[in-house]
Amino acid sequence: MTVYLQLFIDGVLVGSVFALMAVGFSLVWGVVRIINLTQGELVMLGGFLTYWVATVLRWNPFAALPLAAALLFLLGYGIQRGILNRATHASLFMTLLITFGLSIAIRQLGIQLWTANVRTVTAPFAGVSLQVGGTVISVVKLIAFGAALLLTAATWILLTSTRIGFAIRATAQNPQAAALMGVNLSSVYAFTFGINAAVAGAAGVLISMIWPLYPHMGVPLTIRSFIIVILGGLGSIPGALLGGLTLGLVESYGAYLFGISLQEALAFGLLVLILLLRPRGLFGWGLQG
């Protein structure tokens, strides 16, 4: 019984970080109408930034959080302004292809710059864990969980109670009407993608403390983000949170039942199943209704 409780705790802790990674993915899909296949690479960049902060600057890896968020915001803003805004008229497949191209370029750039080696970040409290009722809770994962929830909440507040948040949500509901009300669509799109990149980078900082880093880590994370949004519903932040936790739990129990090495196959099976049985998502929420 404790095994299942332990798996539940691990699933929820990791799932919260998955959720953070998917929040921006969902936002970009809902607002900019782009399925961003560079999502995993943005997370990867956040992770590598943490690696440098921890090993080169010898700072506390959590100090990488604001740094990664700021730098990736600029990168994301630039990608949308410089490239993706030129393709807003194109079909969804074409934007999929562009972001896939960008993901290949970023990944290969990563390999050229940092080699394909696996790196690890040693977080403070790395070996420390709490023992509660027979279960073991890693303190690093617990901190990552708290940070992920806080950042998800911060994104929610940004969207629901700031001026730019109103503009973003208005654009999601009806771009033409928003434009008529004086919303500058190009800059809203760029800002949305920037927020996504910042949040994904922050998720990368948290992931770097619980998983090893390597340039190829991105694509499976992108597919996870896609699955989470399918689970939770397009453009919905509470949906992304629930979807992330669900995927974390499925992977946790799946790894126990079928072995850790079949995680991607399991996630794919879940994806096809959900798409066929519940095409509107498990919870049927979404910004667009």
């Binding site: 191209g101 370029a105 050229q112 597919i223 991607e264 994806l271 066929l276």
Partner: protein
Amino acid sequence: MTRSLLLLLLLAGGLLPLLPGRTGFLLTVTAEGFLFVTLASSWDLTGGRTGYPSFGNMTFFGVGAYTTAILMNRGIGFFPALAWSGGAALFCALVIGFPLLRLRGPYFTVSTLGLLLATREIAANLTITGGGSGLTTPLYRGSVEAEVSFYYLFFSLAVLTVLASAFLRSNRFGLLLSAIRDDEEKALTMGINSTAVKVAVWALGGLFTGLAGGTYAYFNLFIDPGVVFNLDWSVLMVLMALLGGAGTVSGPVLGALLLHGLNVTLWSYLPGWQYVVLGALIVVVVLFFPGGIVGSLSAHAISLTPRAPAAR
């Protein structure tokens, strides 16, 4: 015009090994070029013609490659093993096609990417596939004759695929594909069993891709999950079809040969950077040449980017 270009390519491709002073490098590179012609043309059957662009076609390549490698390691000859490769890829495409091809638009495309990751992971974890360390195939004598044989194998496979693609332009089945691409709801209303049609053409592409994978396994002497379930190739073939002109017969052929040539040149002068260039090239092609080369030349090409009604 494109037809005469294809005939010219057929002639040049058939005669290349007979040229005096041929070098092994040129022959091997051209053989790989024809491998990509097969991949891009097979992709285009579902991606361009039917409007179901996939990022997961390398799944069938991997299945084909592993089938040939496993059977040859058990003492079965190359051609019977290759036949089994085609069958295995066809079977996989049929089984996976029925659920996947019910999905529409981006849901289909991203799911095919998931399919590729999943099959690659499965191949990396089975014992029969040698796990992550891969498999070797029996050595052939590294001679000019072997080189020429592989060249003609890849060449015939490419010709076969392009012939099938050309045949599908004119007959009723090809029209069904266009109907599904242009308006699937209407096609359904007309009584077309669209899922069956989509699965059939996807399986045909899977067959050619699997045969290419089987040939590649013997040709390359070594396969592992990363090589044959190759993520970069799965998008490379898409770019080839788009660069040449998706939905046409000659587009994927031209795109594959051109892009492979570019890739080899980059590989020789800027090793490691070719995928950075590839990524940048994707962006340029999609933004500035969405109709591809053939699309810019003729009106036959379909555009994958219908202009949306003015957004603002």
